[in-house]
């Protein structure tokens, strides 16, 4: 395996720095929300991880289309990488949401449309990896994975629009005015800074992890090919 490119090494360092700055702004610069208190600060990471995760799932659906057209395994690697990183980020989104919900809604979990669609999305992509593990032939695995990721990709916009389409208690932060939402708040300029910086930071971290995961996929494919060659 060739050593890491310099750009990726720099990106690794930049990711750690921007994530640290984002946490600092969220914890120390953004003001404390008066009604919810400090727990509101998890909102910055909650949105940052949700944004990148949903974007990753949609990207993966795009890579699936390209794979199905070209049959080039490179697109399969990109798809797997995008889904794996997004799955981790979306898990963080769900856990942070649950932690926020406990003091705000007085419950860790409720079967609200947004929470339900988010849980279904996470489960769809866990099942994606179980499906892939059950198929040995690389081409067949990539084809099945692409079709699955393409259909599964629909769950990302459904999750995003769930709070805009259905009656829900989940607050709509961006251009939302849901009267039934519980825990909604309006952002001060410092809160906006923390919010947008978190979006930026998680985008950088996502790109970094995505790149690293693509390289891992390349190595996995090389090992798989060499295994076949040696055993034949």
């Amino acid at each position: 395996m060739p050593s890491k490119p310099l750009t990726l090494r720099i990106l690794d360092i930049v990711s750690v720095i921007v994530l640290g700055i984002s946490a600092y702004i969220a914890l120390f610069v953004a003001p404390t929300e008066l009604v919810m208190g400090d727990v509101q600060r998890v909102f910055y990471f909650h949105i940052g991880t949700a944004w990148t995760a949903l974007l990753g799932f949609i990207l993966a659906a795009g890579f699936s289309v390209i794979y199905l057209i070209t049959k080039n395994l490179l697109w399969d690697r990109l798809q797997v990488a995008a889904i794996e990183v997004s799955l981790v980020f979306f898990l963080i989104t769900i856990v942070l949401g649950s932690i926020w919900a406990r003091p705000a809604w007085n419950t860790w979990w409720t079967w609200d449309p947004r929470l339900t669609t988010a849980a279904v999305t996470e489960l769809i992509y866990i099942a994606y990896f179980m499906l892939r593990q059950g198929i040995d032939d690389p081409d067949r695995r990539a084809r099945f994975g692409a079709v699955y990721a393409l259909i599964g990709g629909l769950s990302a916009p459904i999750t995003f629009f769930a709070i805009r389409l259905f009656r829900t208690i989940h607050p709509v932060v961006i251009s939302g005015s849901n009267p039934e939402a519980e825990g909604a708040f309006s952002m001060t300029p410092d809160m906006r800074t923390a919010f947008f910086f978190a979006l930026f930071a998680f985008t950088v971290v996502f790109i970094d992890l995505f790149w690293n995961r693509i390289r891992l996929g390349e190595l996995q494919d090389k090992v798989e090919q060499l295994k076949l060659k040696v055993t034949m």
Binding site: L27, G37, V39, V42, F45, T49, I99, L219, Q220, V230
Partner: protein, 74 residues
């Protein structure tokens, strides 16, 4: 919670949230590192096996080429 007069102390939840976020991300980075290391080790072993296979194949091919000559000299 929404009929209170003072801001509630929910810092425990905040600390738990940030801790979990960083731990999950840290574990994922660790998993990428460990998988990469294990695959690199596999790659090295497989390359050695492939090399020795190629050498033994070349050796047996040479022997096959030599054996009709040695039979002829007898």
């Amino acid at each position: 919670m929404f009929f209170q007069e003072t801001t509630p102390d929910t810092s425990g939840y905040m600390i738990a949230g940030y801790t979990i976020a960083f731990v999950v991300m840290g574990l994922y980075v660790l998993s990428i590192y460990l998988r990469n290391r294990n695959l690199s080790q596999d790659m090295t072993i497989l390359e050695e096996m492939d090399k020795s296979n190629a050498e033994s194949e070349a050796g047996s091919a040479n022997q096959r080429r030599k054996s009709p000559q040695s039979q002829g000299t007898k």
